[in-house]
């Protein structure tokens, strides 16, 4: 039976899953846009401005989606989780306040100038506005990840009368998991954007829309992905070791280890069964989990049995983790193959361009599965070791929460469908617009001179 707690958790999960998709695009895409603009400023090559023109539209749309779902997030704390602020408000409050004050206003105000001010301010001021929007989005990630990390590895506080009070702000902000989570999330954002840029460019390429702007954007996306995917694997590994130190129950669930043992195997595939507390159909590599986690084939790894009832649901974390890793491996293979073709200046085979186009939104799948791994992995705690999720929930009747959950789900389903279809529509339109402006003779002089098409390579 779905009670207020479960419905509130589903509602928060639905809301934050929907929300995070868009900041993950805009945080990195803001810097990519800045790069396009700086290249145009430096070279005067119109292909950079053409690339900017398409991607600034995608950015504006993604930003709006992020803003409206973010506003909804900020209300959910109070409507569904009043216990959260009552207990840890002294920590969460200032972090959220600094996010609004230093980041939200900055990005929202200068976004207007960045989007619509091109003809009203100097090119230099427009570049500054673009920089400030990029700084604002990244700063917002800094503050919110400080809070999220603190919920996983709380530090710098003491409990007095059941309420958390800060003893050191430096320890609160730079809590043990923060540097790893910040790095892992920022790289994830750049990977999401790089596959979006490369994938949508591949989509245009397949439609025989092969202007220099398409080739340039695809190259930027592929190079970013090829450099960042291996980096992300290293950062993710470090983040995992940090989790082992501070949240061993989460790692036990990720690895599907029910019992503490020396020489623990790496479970490649299994169906974890919570009733029998064991894995069915397990495919294992002996001793490998111990080797990876403790750097010793006979090292001891804690299993679920160490944590009584204070452990997350194993199957959900186990599977989310495997999906994330699978997407990472796929990203590595695709980006390196594409980069190799780029390096040798060879055209990509059509089947591969299709794969790249199919991976346009692969970053989203990676982000969500990674997000579920870490956030479900924190359960049953809301703040690890400090308060349980059930302690924070509202006393509202389940019917009210069920109603709003249903409404949000409908809204999000409609918006996500509209968003994806419009992104591809914008890509098709961009092709038409560029083709039009590249035929200057028939319709009089074009606005911008165009460089020669680069034959033969993407």
């Amino acid at each position: 039976m779905l009670d207020t707690l479960m419905l509130s958790r589903l509602q928060f999960a639905a809301n934050i899953s929907f929300h995070i998709l868009f900041p993950m695009i805009t945080i990195a895409l803001a810097w990519v846009l800045l790069f396009f603009k700086l290249r145009f400023n430096a070279t005067g090559d119109p292909k950079w401005m053409n690339a900017y023109r398409l991607w600034v539209k995608v950015f504006a749309l993604s930003f709006a989606m992020g803003v409206v779902s973010g506003i909804t997030m900020s209300f959910q704390f109070g409507t569904n989780w009043p216990g959260f602020m009552n207990t840890v408000g002294n920590i969460a409050g200032p972090l959220l306040a600094y996010e609004v004050l230093t980041a939200f206003f900055l990005e929202a105000t200068f976004l207007g100038i960045m989007l619509f001010g091109f003809n009203r301010v100097s090119n230099r001021m427009h570049t500054i506005a673009t920089v400030l929007v990029a700084v604002g989005t990244s700063l917002s990630a800094f503050w919110i990840l400080a809070l999220i990390s603190w919920m996983h590895t709380p530090a710098g506080f003491e409990m007095r009368d059941g309420v958390a009070h800060v003893t050191s702000w430096l320890e609160v902000i730079f809590n043990p998991s923060f540097p790893y989570r910040l790095a892992h999330t920022m790289v994830a954002s750049f990977l999401t954007a790089s596959f979006l840029v490369a994938g949508l460019s591949a989509y245009r390429w397949l439609r025989n829309d092969r202007t220099p702007a398409v080739a340039a954007a695809m190259r930027v996306g592929i190079v970013m992905a090829a450099v960042l995917t291996p980096l992300q694997i290293v950062v993710g590994d470090l983040h995992g070791l940090n989790t082992l130190e501070h949240q061993p129950a989460k790692v036990a669930a990720m690895e599907g280890l029910w019992e503490t043992r020396k020489g623990a195997p790496l479970v490649l595939f299994a169906v974890p069964d919570a009733d029998t507390r064991s894995n069915r159909f397990a495919v294992e590599v002996p001793k490998l989990a111990s080797l990876i986690l403790t750097h010793d084939p006979n090292g001891e790894v804690k299993g679920i049995d160490e944590f009584a009832d204070a452990h997350p649901p194993v199957a959900a974390v186990f599977w989310a983790f495997r999906i994330m890793v699978g997407i990472g491996v796929l990203m590595l293979a695709v980006s390196w193959f594409a980069a190799w073709k780029q390096l040798r200046k060879r055209p990509m085979p059509t089947w591969f361009t299709r794969v790249l186009a199919l991976m346009t939104f692969s970053g989203w799948a990676g982000v969500l599965s990674g997000w579920y791994t870490t956030e479900i992995g924190r359960q049953p705690y809301l703040v690890q070791g400090v308060m349980r999720t059930a302690e924070a929930v509202t006393t509202l009747p389940a019917g009210n929460v069920g109603l709003t959950l249903a409404l949000y789900l409908v809204l999000y389903a409609v918006l996500i469908a509209a968003y994806i279809s419009v992104v591809f529509y914008l890509a098709r339109q961009a092709g038409k617009a560029e083709t039009k402006s590249s035929a200057p003779t028939a319709l009089g002089p074009a606005v911008l001179p165009r460089s020669q098409m680069e034959p033969g390579h993407a």
């Binding site: 209300f75 929202a108 301010v121 529509y425």
Partner: protein, 344 residues
């Protein structure tokens, strides 16, 4: 006025007061700034296709930053008055959800209407109007519930519904008077018409809240109708009434001046409407003080720990003036009549 006013020399005494002021500023800024762009959304369906584009262009560069004031306002309620935050948002659970769905639809429709295929444009225009309407009605309804102390009877709900309509009308007045400043020609004339029709319900709404709050709370009644207070406070309703007269006369004279191509006084209706909102807000704030949940929870009872408030206060003192500074800069860049929105 309060029996045991806390020692205002200590941080635990003056910090909640300071945060109430900042929260008041944020909510006021939100109501006026997002008020005019919500109002334009409410009027959108009345414009023809070209007019719709101009109307959207008049708010395009601003709406996002305007909405951030709501996040700041709710953020301060959340971080500075955590105890009140749970009560208020718990009581207003469903209208808050309605408002959020409305704001979501409106915020994204703004982008979708020009980015999706042309055949969907009118669909997104409807979403923009519907979202603005839902958000405005919900906000007014919440105000109505809030000032009656969330009383659980039929009259209170009916009152809240009335305030919903009145606030929506107030936003329409803000929106149409904003359009008078930002547009020209036929659309400007129509905006004057729309403004004249929106005045009544706003006046009724302000009167209704002014009468209801003293009836709900004897404490508020005594505050306003004690003899010495009556003398000190009469300017608030008097100036409000004067502002209505100024707005009304200006709306009546503007068309005549515009006929002679004289643009003098185009901003008077908007400015006087802003003044009306300012005064109504201050009257309400005076009534409520020092309670953050009417007659239930004072700002001191609801406040977070002084150490945490101090951390935010220092940040707010440094950052808010900068925020206000660059917000004014952004409005200056886009001053004058609205022009077509282009990205480059």
């Amino acid at each position: 006025m309060l029996e045991q006013l806390p020692d205002l020399a200590t941080p635990a005494g003056w910090l909640p007061l300071a945060f109430m002021a900042v929260m008041g500023l944020a909510i006021l800024a939100y109501v006026i700034l997002d008020g005019f762009d919500l109002g334009v959304g409410l009027l959108l369906e009345a414009g023809d296709s070209g007019e719709k584009d101009t109307m959207i262009a008049s708010i395009g560069p601003f709406w996002d930053a305007n909405e951030t004031w709501l996040v700041l306002g709710i953020g301060i309620l959340l971080v500075a008055f955590p105890a009140a935050h749970g009560i208020v948002l718990g009581e207003l659970y469903l209208p808050v959800a309605a408002m959020l769905i409305g704001l979501s639809l409106r915020g994204v429709a703004f982008d979708f209407r020009v980015k999706a295929a042309a055949k969907y444009k009118s669909l997104w225009d409807h979403a923009f109007f519907g979202g603005s309407l839902l958000a405005s009605l919900a906000q007014g309804y919440m105000l109505g519930r809030y000032v009656t102390g969330f009383a659980d009877n039929g009259w209170s709900y009916a009152f809240a519904a009335l305030i919903g309509l009145c606030l929506a009308s107030g936003y329409m007045l803000l929106g149409s008077t904003w359009l008078i400043i930002k547009t020209e020609g036929r659309l400007q004339r129509r905006a004057i018409d729309w403004a004249r029709r929106s005045v009544y319900l706003l006046a009724i709404g302000i009167a209704a809240v002014s009468l209801a709050t003293p009836l709900v709370s004897t404490r508020i009644f005594d505050k306003w109708f004690g003899l010495e207070n009556l003398i000190v406070l009469w300017p608030i309703p008097a100036i409000t009434a004067a502002m209505f007269v100024i707005a009304w006369r200006s709306l009546a004279r503007l068309p005549l001046r515009l006929d002679e191509d004289n643009h003098y006084g185009e901003s008077v209706p908007f400015m006087s409407t802003v003044a009306i909102f300012l005064l109504a807000f201050h009257g309400l704030a005076y009534s409520l003080f020092p309670y953050v949940v009417i007659d239930r929870l004072t700002i001191w009872e609801a406040a977070a720990a002084p150490e945490s408030l101090m951390v935010i206060f220092v940040g707010a003192v440094i950052v808010l003036p900068v925020v206000i500074g660059y917000s004014i800069y952004a409005y200056r860049i886009f001053r004058g009549k609205a022009t077509e929105l282009t990205y480059y």
